[in-house]
Structure formats: structure tokens, C-alpha cells
Subunit: 146 residues, 8 copies
């Protein structure tokens, strides 16, 4: 049995690489998918494909069209979603992805620092597990295969 | 035909009252539901019902149990969701509610200031309409009844 | 038992009034809903609520946001959908509404002139009944109550 | 990860070949499915299998039975739908397929010339992305695999 | 709490009247719906609304269009389905309605004589209850309200 | 807004009356439904309607047919499920009802004594709230209406 | 692309072998599943596994438990259902399987002799295609792969 | 065709090994999944990953988070669920898993001793088959492949 895991959340730290390396060391049969991790490309993909847009809002609309296409398709293909909430940015689309995962019946693992518990409490209560580190999330994946 | 509208989002400004008053003036047959608007009560409801908790995280877990019970029940009863993103706080549960609304097929109207467009772009692209003021959201409701 | 019927399709002939009058004469307990029938208002509603848009395409995007909000909400509230294909325009949103009705399990009655049968054949095959006149569609509604 | 893409829409220009060639050059792991592209065969398949029909309308009914069987089965097998609206014909079944894709939660990419934006505005608003050329649609597919 | 009960099955004996009378005597708050009970009208409704058809098969196709429209709509409105299998006819649409009820999650009560158990065994195993008389079916309805 | 609450669980203590009285004192607009509370009648209903059965197992099969018909219908009509686990019996159908509530998206409140936490831990983790007394469950209902 | 086809219906003529042979000659990539074709085994499987039953009705109940387990599992695994109505027996479970196929969104091909059209008219109207011979059903499968 | 079977239920007897061995002897193409079978590990997994918890209830909450993550994921991957009710413990999560299987449309085989029939009667009535031994359950699996 192979699993596909969607890695939602911030794209400014190398946490996805850490997940993948630890999973590789454990030799778990897991394939990973996730959002475009190059922030600039994620912001410019709309204009790149659809052409220059009249203003920054419409540039955002264009980019989000492509990003949503990618995210929805790949999340549907996945068996589990791990969502990491980091330090920076508002991360509303991380919350959006985590909530969509719950709504579509995909088991959800949230990674967040303890200090973020309060604003995340309602979402965290809907997750299957909330942890504080990549290591713990990988342990949860490991437990599925034991 | 009466509609039920869930008013998701921040509870620190009187925007829900503004929505209700404007809808009343237009005599639209709309019932409103939404989260507990008393912030303190929302934070303490867990301990109030379940008793004192060992630490602040568990206090949050207890409170979010009750808040999620309320939100999920009332959102299921509603026909449309309006989610307002304000100035303060991280508002991850507003994003969670908005995303759940989309996932459950509830039409979604987002109210946000223009400056928040970028972090909201993916969620906004999934909404039916994104506006900048309560007036505009009420106009959208009005249009349904014309 | 009251039924709600969504009247999809062209807004340039008074066919909805004919349906309503015939239903009234038969004293059938039916409520009707449907799209904005004032074509200009339907085209301008986006700019009216969201403000002037940079170009005509974006004006269309804005208008369709509001029209889709209205249509999806009202179609979900309905028990049967009647879709009339007329002479003018491309009527792709009539086909869209009819197809959505089928996908959501709403019984569908199509009204079209015989000469349009060929381009409508796949959609017509998915409808419960295809008729050529308002009178026939009303007879079908009547049959439900007999 | 391989994807299956349903290519809906007109069958009178070689746009499907263009999509396939461009995808092949990019070496994307995509399988394509779609409707019967031989227009005559698509129109005659009903009589071919079910025998001669009393009139042209019943010939259409017979043909559409087989075409719908094929389309529904293959669309269910696909991960993404690309719908191209061309110059000729009414293309109501293209609109039907695009709308069904949205209803079944399949991400939808619409290809249409700018001049068709107005009649397509409501359907376009439901698509994930609307583009004007095959190249752009393929770029959108490419972005999923980056 | 009022319930709506769909009475599927044969239309050649007055069993529906018996159900209604017994329910009335028990003063249970139940509304009844069901198929067209006038066999001739059920067979001719297609030609009545759609006009004369080329042959008897197409007359049947036309009639079944209207009968299915009626049945699907009314069954969706119901809370429980009672299906009676009688002596005469093949009753394939009774089996169809009973199976659809199960598939849509509507509790199903089957009434059949003991001698029909063997050919009905698979369908009967999917029903909530299988009884042999109208009286027993009404008792089952009664039990819901106790 | 009125709510319907299904009261699942043991039928040997008067806890349902306590819930109803407390809700009445709070004047909450709630209707209650639930299983047959007369244990003997619940055990004998199969033979009462379907006649004497060959052995006690078949008597149980007959009774459970009617009990499941009742439970499934009434649970579908409800907005919230409260499941109380008591001292006696194995209560596997309480666990069954609670699990079905979760699967069908009905918010679930579990009442159990603290000493039962361990065997209930997996089910409890799926509930919205787990409390130890009727009073607390009623407070949770109250919170929905505040 | 391989397809799985469920062959529902009578088990007293070798029609399944004919389907398989014709499909083999056409080299279509199709796997076939279906009910137990040995009538005796199908009738006795309940007692074989569950032991002797008190009477013939309970023997039927036992057998249908296993037959339904098999049918539901295999039908869920299939992409298309072909249901053949033959000359003999009441064939209520063929009608049940065909109706379940429609309800679960599986494309349905019915094979029946023309003389059976009238009693099958409502079910036939829900099928994608109704044909009179195995050859025609195989042609319909062939058309999917062209 | 390979099947995946989820083995729910008690983890204190080697019944899963018996199922696997008998299936192996019959050379049935079946993969098995199930809960963590090491009871201690199942109880401690929460603290192992999430760290020491304030009390035994919270230790249970932590453990059940991981156990539910595992169970829900693996049950979704399975085609059939076999649930064994044993002698010891309350086994409320076995009842929970069996009920969830039914709700999600997974065919369910229950294994229980005859003496447990009464408390299991409602759940047993929802199962496809109830047997008394591992041998019988394996025979049921075998029948699917014949």
C-alpha cells in the first residue's frame, strides 16, 4: 500500500524537504504532492499564462486561478493532508486547505508552534492530530504503516 | 421564500448589526445565525460547561469543542455564508468557516478591505463574490430576491 | 405539498409569465424562482455592486459572480427545473443550468422547438422530458399533482 | 502520478491533436480521453447499433444515447476537463459537459476566443481557468506537474 | 412531526386506500404520495402531452418519461417507501422503485405474499422490513410514532 | 429556529425526561426523538408485527428490523444526536448510533461517566463534545441558541 | 484504460460467455464481474456457510445475505453495468441491480427482447441504452474505446 | 482483481492471523489492513508522539487521535470490513468501526458468538452477513471470488 500525502502550508522554510528526508530514511512508501513552492512563480503564474493584467488585484485573481486548479486536483489525489502553520504571513490559504481537507474527509495533521494554539483552536479541534514538529508528523505517518 | 444567512468572521466590530439593520430596512425575509459574538464567553465556554482545565491549551480545546458544535450545526442550517475578514487577529477560523462553506456547496460572500486581497486571493477565488463593505454584501443578498 | 420550480433559460420573451398564468389557472401549489429577467440589470449588476470595472470582460466577470450566486442558491431551493431554449443568443448558460440540474438530481423539463433538436440531442437525452411548448411543460407539472 | 484529461468540445478542428503534441513535447504523464471525434460516426452511431429509426429526431435520440454513455463514463475516469468553444455550431453539449464537470468536482479549463466571453460569462466564472489558446491550456496542465 | 410515505407498486388493487384508511383511524400524521394509479392514464400520458407516437415502443418511451419525472420527484420528497408486490404483471418498476429507495437511503417496507419470497429474496434482504399484509405495514409506521 | 435532537442510548434510567425537563425550563425550541424506550416492547415488536419466530435469534432479527427502521428514520430527521452510555448492558447499539451520527455529519454529544473514558476513547474523540451529566449536555444545547 | 463491466441478470443461458467471447475477439481491455452463475450454489450458499436453516424462507434470507455481499462489492468495482432480462423467472433482482446501477451513477445497458418493452419501460427510460442482443451491447462497449 | 479487507475488532486473540492463513491457503488475492494490534502500543502511542499528558484521560485523548487517524485512513482504502466481537472488554470502538463501515457503504461481515446476538441485534441487522467463526467469514470472502 502506497499513500499520497499533500503538504499544505507555508513555502518559506524547507520543512517539506525535512518531511521527505525523514520519510525516506524510514523507507515509508509515500508519494508527496503540494503547492508551487517557488513563491515568486506562484504569484506570477497568472500573468505568465494569461498575460499581463490591469492591476495587482487582477494579477492575484489570475494567479489564484492556477494555484487553486493545482491544489484542488492534487489534494483530491491524496490520502492524508499535513498543514504547517509558520511564523510569517497571514496563511489564510493554509487554513483554507486544512478546512477543505476536513470537509472532503481527508485525515488532517496540523503542525504549529504551541504559541499559535489559541487562534488555531477551532481548526485544530477538527484535525485528527495537532503536533509541533515535522518529526512528530512523520511519526504519525509511520504509525499508519506499522 | 425565507433565507438563512450565516455571518462568519470577526466579532470585535458591530458589522453583524449593520448587516441586520440594512436587511431590515430593505424588508428582506432573512434570518441570521452565526458564532458566539461575546469573545470572552466564546473563550470560556469550554471551562464553563466542562469544568476547569489543566492548562490554557486544554482550555482552548474545550472551548473549541463547543464553538465547533455551534458553528457546524448553524452553518448546515444556512443558505448563504458571509465571511468578513477584519483588521485584527489571525482569523484562521474565519478562513476555516469560509472554506467549509465552499466545500459544502453554500454560496459564499467575502467582505475584506482591498489591502487584504493578496493573502486572501486563493480563498477569494473560490467565493461567489468578494466585496469591500457591508453595504455591498447586503446588495448581493438583495439581488437574490429581486 | 408545494413545489418550487426554477425557470431557466432565455429572458427575452414572456414565457415565464405564460407558465405562471397557466399554473395559476390550474390552481397548482407551485412557487417559481429563476434568474434576473431584466437583461440590462443582469449585465450591469456586477458594476452596480462592485463598482466600475477596467474593461468589458471584467464587467462580465463581475456580473456573472452575482448571477451565479443567485442561480445556484435558487436552483438548490427548487424541486424541478424547466429550461427553455429560444431563438436568439448562444444560450450557453441555459445549457449550463440544465446540465447542473441533471447533475444535482433535479428533474429537468426542456422546452425547445423541434428544429433545435439536433444540437440539443445529448442534453435532451439527459432531461426527464423534452417538449415544444409552455403548455406541454405545464401539463407535465400538472401530472405530478394528479 | 499520471493524470487523465477529458477534452470536451468541438470536433471540427484539430485542437485535440495540438494539445496532445504539446503535452508529448513536454513529456507530461497525461492520458487523454474525449468524445467520438468523427462527426458522422457520432451522428450515425445510434442507427448503426440500434437499427434504422422512424425519423431524424429518433435517430438523434438513438445517437445521443451512445454518445452520453461514452462521455459520462470517460469523464468520470478523468482528473481534469478542458472544454473548447469554437466558432461553429451551437455547442450546447460542450456547455453541458463543462457544467457537468463543475458539478462533479472536476477542475475545468475553458478555451474560448475573447469575443465569446459575454455569452460564456456565467460558465466561465465557474471554471478554474479560462484561456484563449491551446498553448495556455497546456501551460496550465504543465503547472500542475512542476 | 409529519412523515411523507411513498406507496410504490401495483395499481390494480385498492391497497393504497386500505393503507390510508388504517392510518387515518390511527390518526397518524402521514401524507401519502405515489405513482399515477389510473393504469390507462399512466400508459397514455406520454401521447397525451407529447402527441401521437410512431409505434407502441415510442408510446411507452413517452409515457415512461412522465412517469419517471413524477416518481423521482415524489420519492425524493418522501421519508419512507412502502412497496407492494402483487399477483399480476412483471412489476419490474416496483422492484426498480424499491431498489432506488434503498440506494437513496429511504427506509423501505416490502409487502409481498409468502409465496413470492424466493424471487424477492435479494431485494427483501435490503429492505428494512418485509411483511405480508397492509395491516403489518401500517403497524410498522405506527411504531415510528410511539 | 427549532432544532430536533435524537436521544440515543440506554433506556433504563429516566435521563431523557431529565433532558426534556431542563430544556423546557430553559424554554429552548427543541423537539426530541429517540428509540422505543419500553425495553420489552422494543424486544417484542418483531414478533408482534411479524408473528411468532422459530427461535430467540430470529425473534431478535425481527425486532431489530423494526427498531432500525425507526432509528434511521428519526435520526435522519434530527439536527443533533446526544448519546448516553450508562452502567448496564453492552450498549453496542448506542455506539452504533453514535458512530452513524458522526458518519452522517450530525453533531454528536456523548454523555458518559469518567470511568468509561478508556473504552470510549476512540468514539469520544469523534464526538463534538463529551460530558459527564445531562446538565452539561443541556448547557451545550443552550449555547447553540445564545 | 481498462474497464470493468458487471453482467447482471439471468443465469440460465450462456449470454455472459457470448459477451466475453465477442469482447475477446475485438480485443477490448475489459474485465468482467457478475453474480454467482451456478443457480444451485447461489440458492444454497447461505446454508453452506451459515448452516442449516429452520425453513425455506430463512434459507433464502441466508443465501441472499451472501449474494448481496458479492453483488454490492463487485458492482462498486465496475464502470458499466449490463443487465439482461430473459424469458424465465420474475427477475426482480435483475431489476434491483439495474436500478441500483442507475442510482450509483454507473452507466447502464439493458438487453431485452422487444416484447418485454412495456413492463420494462420505466427502467429502460433510466438506462443509457436499451438493446435487443448481446451483439448490440458489445458494440456499445466497443464504441467507448474507439 | 485484488481486494483490501479491514479487520476490525478485538486485538487480544490471534484471529487476524487465522484469517490471513486461511486466505493464504485458498490463494485469494486479498490484502489486509487493520488497527494497531499491540494493545500497549495502541494505548501509549499518543504520549509517545505528543509527549507526556497531564492525566490518563488526556493520555487517552492523545492515543485515540492517532488510532482514529490510522483507522479512518485504512478503512477508506478497504473494500470489505470484517468486525469480530470477542469475549472481553466493552468493544465500543469495534461497534463504532462496524457502524462507520455501514455508513460509508462498505460491505460488513460480523463475527460473534451466538450468545452475543441479543446486544448486537441492531448492528447485526445492518451487516451483510453475521457469522460465528473465522472459517465462515473466510468462506464469505471466498464466495466473492468464485
Amino acid at each position: 500500500m502506497r499513500l499520497t500525502v499533500y503538504l499544505a502550508g507555508e513555502i518559506h522554510t524547507p520543512w517539506r524537504e525535512e518531511v521527505k528526508q525523514q520519510v525516506k530514511q524510514l523507507q515509508l512508501p509515500i508519494d508527496f504532492v503540494g503547492p508551487m513552492e517557488d513563491h515568486d512563480r506562484s504569484d506570477h503564474i497568472g500573468e505568465e499564462i494569461l498575460g499581463e493584467q490591469p492591476d495587482t488585484i487582477l494579477k492575484d485573481v489570475a494567479a489564484s486561478s492556477l494555484n487553486n486548479l493545482r491544489t484542488e486536483l492534487l489534494m483530491k489525489k491524496s490520502d492524508v493532508v499535513i498543514a504547517l502553520f509558520g511564523e510569517q504571513y497571514k496563511q489564510w490559504n493554509t487554513a483554507m486547505d486544512a478546512s477543505a481537507a476536513v470537509a472532503f474527509g481527508k485525515p488532517l495533521i496540523i503542525i504549529r508552534q504551541e504559541k499559535h494554539h489559541h487562534p488555531l483552536k477551532e481548526l485544530s479541534r477538527k484535525a485528527h492530530v495537532t503536533v509541533e514538529s515535522v518529526e512528530q508528523a512523520v511519526q504519525a505517518l509511520h504509525y499508519i504503516f506499522e
